[in-house]
Subunit: 374 residues, 2 copies
């Protein structure tokens, strides 16, 4: 990392260099407390997903708010969390390749770690890595409950994979990974209910079949910020893998509740601070945050508390802001907060969080697991 | 940077850990030589854009192939290049904020540096920074030639800004920044000709008006990989700011030539190496490269030399591959090269280039200017 962080503790927010990734600490803490309070009344615990935040600092804050541990999507994330002292990590994904599996086996010496498999070939490779390292690895079976990504079919096919795991002296069967990612952004409660209802049924059926074979599921994990209310009430899922809830983004904020209004359980806590670079003609301004500062895969960012400004298009290092007719234009040098369309890949573009509270920089937190590592 | 690079020199390509950002060195060198050969017959020199590659290593290779220097889009990129010994850098963009301008002024002590302005306010702030640092800063006027982003109107408005620069004892008027970004991906030669023809006319008119005021344009810069043949033949532009030509991507490869076929002047030299993680059911496979490894803002990546495989959708750390009916499915652990839809933001997701030749890793090059820095 050749470059300096964009801020120092004690600065005013308007002194922070841009682009910068801000956490509104009050809103972030509100989100952590809200999730903890909600899940306290259910049979499920939070295992927050670190693919959102990529930071051992955020992980520890979530664990201090009641999370049992963390999910990650890849080995590099697991390593950064474990090096930062996180003790209970689930790789909610398949891991392929002898080098990567050797790294997972090494992590088993310093923390509680589990990973997923969806076929015999995965189980065989994990077994070889565990045997070579002299450790016991915990393996969950990933089932496909409607996402159409990885995952074996629920039911007997899943049981067959679980039996392979349970039969190995080097492995421990850890339960089911059962995430319906496609349901997270269905906008109406009825759509989400239908999709997750089917996922719950398939998961329950598989858990029951495993039990009949003498295989207990210590973990039945899944759910995200869009649907965790359903999985946590299911009586089947015992771990909730929400990630975005701690930050929120434009896309999740579009999900509607039963009253037809956006669900507003969590607050926007993540922002890309940007500077007006140019105001070249009527109706247009340009900010210094484009593709390389804010993800647009789920839509354009919002402009925070500036209803007269619309982020209309991104190029690599610029954003084009359209100013509403008749509105006062922003001035060059002015700073505006953008609300990312999609928080996870936005975070991945930065090396530092700048934590702000009451208009001041309170902290800098490294985003240790960012980037295209394995 | 907490994590290890994904390869070491001498490995076979299929031993490289994934996801990894590969440069096919033969294709890359071919692209550099092709551009050098092409521009040798024109009145324009290459000032390659480092927003594509973010690396002083690549910059030096381009300069060794005849480029006069580098363009960058922000101060952090300029710093990384200057620290790596690049001697001639143009920030082809406005720079706003006293801290950033102080950094530009500091760079003027160790390399030839210039930046852009599109209004009096920019000029005033740059002048203050130059005066405070005791340096002379070279400033180009950015004109809008149809991109509708930053840039003052061509003609008399641009002349007025140039006169402010020329009148300052702390500044030197450097010429015009005149980039028509919207023309780069227009698919037919006729569309590109029309858009760039208008840009050339506006630029020529402005250069002439400046000359009448006694202001010579040392640099008249613009153009990109999609249109540089037009600007370099214009007799007006003397610097070509192409960036993507060295790597190419799916989007640029869709531009058509006069024969109605894709322009094939440059080769695909940049790839994201990925691994098949799962092959859960007929017709579907999953790779370990999603939003955080490959940019989709200009469309999905291609799958290199595997016409039976289509990259159909990305999630954060997964790509969903659709297998053509009847085709042999890829196997778990198999590695496939993806051709990025858009090279620039894909590069920005990685810390290392893995240079490969003849199936072997030849080198690792750091991507020193990656990330959301200012």
């Amino acid at each position: 990392m050749l470059q300096s962080p964009p801020a120092r503790a004690g600065q005013r927010e308007d002194e922070v260099d841009t682009p910068a990734l801000l956490i509104d600490l009050d809103a972030f803490e509100y989100n952590l407390a809200t999730m903890a309070k909600y899940l306290a009344g259910t049979g499920a615990k939070l295992r927050a997903h670190a693919k959102t935040h990529k930071s051992s600092v955020v992980a520890h804050r979530q664990i201090a708010s009641g999370a049992v541990g963390q999910c990650v999507q890849k080995v590099a994330e697991a390593e950064v969390l474990a090096w930062g002292g996180v003790q209970n990590i689930l790789i909610s994904n398949e891991v392929v390749g002898a080098d990567k599996l050797a790294r997972v086996a090494a992590l088993a010496r310093i923390c509680t770690i589990a990973l997923c498999a969806d076929c015999a070939e995965h189980v065989k490779a994990i077994e070889a890595a565990a045997r070579d390292a002299g450790v016991i690895l915990t393996v969950l079976v990933e089932i496909d409950v409607g996402m159409n990504r990885a995952g074996v079919a629920a039911g007997s096919d899943a049981v067959a994979v679980a039996q392979l795991i349970a039969a190995s002296p080097h492995l421990r069967f850890g339960g089911l990974q059962s995430y319906q990612g496609r349901a997270q952004h269905l906008r109406t409660p009825a759509e989400r209910q239908e999709a997750i209802g089917a996922a719950i049924d398939a998961t329950r059926r598989t858990v029951d079949m495993l039990r009949q074979q003498g295989l207990a599921c210590a973990i039945v994990g899944g759910a995200g910020t869009g649907t965790f209310e359903l999985e946590s009430a299911s009586g089947v899922y015992n771990e909730i893998q929400a990630g975005s809830y701690c930050f929120m983004d434009v896309d999740y904020a579009k999900n509607l509740g039963a009253d037809g209004k956006p669900v507003a359980m969590f607050k926007h806590a993540l922002f890309v601070l940007s500077t007006i670079l140019s105001q070249p003609r009527t109706g247009i301004a340009v900010v210094d945050a484009g593709h390389k500062a804010v993800a647009i895969d789920s839509g354009m960012p919002g402009v925070w508390q500036r209803p007269e400004l619309t982020y209309a298009g991104a190029s690599d290092e610029h954003g084009r802001i359209v100013i509403a007719d008749g509105a006062k234009p922003p001035v060059i040098g002015e700073k505006v907060r953008l609300v990312p369309g999609h928080c996870d890949p936005t975070v991945d573009r930065f090396d530092w969080y700048v934590g702000v509270r009451n208009g001041r920089v309170e902290c800098l937190w490294p985003i240790g697991a960012r980037g295209g590592f394995s």
